[in-house]
């Protein structure tokens, strides 16, 4: 996938050109779509932050917590990986109020997506942490470090770099999943697209623009994560680990 951005940029330019050329009313629809795009980006960012937090908390609890906490982490991970994102979204939207918790739809959206992707992220974190060699843990025991010190100073810094590419994929998954929030009345990009499609019937044009927008954000995420990876690799380890 080394040339992914290149390929994708080419299609992006091609499709955008095609759509603009064929779509006379393009300018009329752009403001509305951009408004929706802003909401999509907002939810993606909020969801990503929450997902990272949930993933680390859940993974570390599952690996190192005392059994009740470990059990909770396992239940969280299994439930959110085992059911569908849309079901989770609807559950938080329709059922949470019955507990007396009424949240803004936007909050529900960020919560649902963050929790959902966080559960998948927990397995990424767990995988990367368990991939750090046993010798590193043994060295920390020999140096009389506590487990918390070993984790914070020795193991996590080494686990972070290999974690970055899978996190990039998860952020793209999250971006794609944000389209579901249109089904709980949030005016994101997908919602705006349906709205405009219902009034204008310019299906090909509207949905093409929208798809290309999602693609553009996905490419942006890929590029950002790749530079983050390069930066982190330079900062944390010179060359391959022994």
């Amino acid at each position: 996938m080394a040339h992914r951005p290149l390929v994708v940029c080419a299609i992006l330019a091609f499709t955008a050109g095609l759509v603009i050329a064929s779509f006379a009313g393009f300018r009329e629809f752009l403001p509305g779509l951009l408004e929706g795009a802003l909401v999509t980006v907002e939810i993606t960012l909020g969801g990503s932050v929450l997902a990272v937090i949930c993933a680390f908390v859940a993974a570390l609890s599952k690996m190192f917590g005392p059994w009740p906490i470990r059990g909770l982490a396992v239940v969280y991970i299994e439930i959110f990986r085992g059911t569908s994102a849309l079901v989770q979204l609807f559950w938080l939207f329709f059922v949470l109020p019955r507990f007396g918790i009424t949240l803004e739809p936007l909050t529900v959206a960020i919560l649902a997506l963050g929790l959902n992707v966080g559960a998948y992220g927990a397995e990424v974190v767990r995988g990367a942490v368990s991939a750090v060699s046993r010798g590193q843990w043994e060295a920390t025991v020999a140096l009389n470090m506590s487990r918390a010190q070993a984790l914070r100073r020795i193991v996590l810094p080494q686990a972070l770099v290999p974690m970055i590419p899978p996190w990039g994929n998860l952020f793209i998954e999250l971006l794609k999943t944000t389209a579901l929030v249109s089904l709980i009345t949030i005016s994101d990009l997908a919602f705006k697209a349906q709205e405009m499609n219902a009034t204008t019937y310019r299906t090909v044009e509207i949905f093409s623009i929208v798809l290309v927008f999602y693609l553009a954000v996905a490419v942006l995420i890929t590029v950002a994560m790749r530079s983050l990876e390069r930066f982190a690799a330079r900062g944390l380890a010179r060359g391959p680990a022994q």
């Binding site: 020999a142 020795i154 010179r238």
Partner: protein
């Protein structure tokens, strides 16, 4: 080996018996018995070499002492105190984290595969534990690290990362890193086995220097028979989870009594 130090003239009533004592220690993995009722005493400042064929349990001795392996039965005493258990109301109970950390502080270990922290420079490798565990200031830890790294001959490689160092240099950093914690007992687990032959010498000469300069109890598992012979006060030959024969190197290497020892040494000789 000062057994005569009476409580009156020893400050803070320090224990004066053996530095390390294995008392009927047993370890098995499933049905495989790795150590079988091991009894072993190591005096203060003594340098003991452990030799034997692979699978004889010699590395397990060090790893148990470093609390990297659980003890199935028996007790290990370090500095007069049980290592992984403690006295409570005259009863031995499994040690809590605090006791374990205090006991581990007396022991340092150097590994076959170095286990340096790849994301830290040589100096940072030596400063990390003194700062986080011993609570040294950055300045103190750095001074200590610099001193130890120049002692192992790496005063000019302070800012090199492990991947930029040769195997021999990495192992010397690992020795400096262990020493920075000021242990009383140093464990060397086949520290030259992962090195190219031409790099073995530099590591052994560092260990030789430690033996001469510092007041350390040393326990090493090694395949370097020549070094064991020259350096150790005592050699223990392990076979099948037991000490088959032990004694001063002159005796073990020159006039071994046990047939297994003779076989093993002959095989080693043929290999070189």
């Amino acid at each position: 080996m000062s057994i005569d130090a009476s409580p009156a003239n020893s400050p803070s009533n320090e224990f004066s018996g053996p530095m390390v004592r294995f008392d009927k220690v047993r370890k098995s993995y499933g049905s495989l018995v790795v150590l079988d009722n091991l009894d072993l005493e190591i005096a203060r400042g003594e340098k003991v070499a452990i030799i034997g064929p692979s699978g004889s349990g010699k590395t397990t001795v060090l790893r148990m002492l470093m609390t990297l392996e659980r003890i199935d039965r028996g007790v290990i005493f370090v500095d007069g105190e049980p290592l992984t258990s403690m006295n409570r109301n005259d009863e031995l109970v499994p040690a809590d984290a605090k006791h374990l950390r205090r006991m581990r502080g007396k022991i340092g270990m150097v590994f076959q595969h170095f286990n340096l922290f790849p994301h830290m420079s040589a100096l940072k490798n030596c400063m990390e534990a003194p700062r986080t565990v011993l609570g040294l200031s950055k300045i103190e830890a750095e001074a200590r690290g610099r001193e130890l790294l120049s002692m192992v001959g790496l005063g000019d490689k302070l800012d090199h990362y492990p991947s930029q160092l040769s195997g021999g240099q990495q192992q010397r950093v690992a020795i400096a890193r262990a020493l920075a914690m000021r242990p009383k007992v140093m464990l060397f687990d086949e520290v030259t086995s992962a090195l190219d032959p031409e790099l073995v010498g530099e590591v052994l000469s560092v260990i030789r220097k430690l033996g001469a300069d510092l007041d350390l109890t040393m326990l090493m598992v090694t395949h370097q028979m020549g070094f064991a012979k020259e350096f150790a006060d005592r050699v223990c030959f392990f076979y099948g989870g037991r000490i088959c024969e032990q004694g001063p190197p002159e005796k073990i290497f020159v006039a071994p009594e046990n047939e297994r020892t003779r076989q093993f040494l002959r095989a080693c000789l043929e290999a070189t």
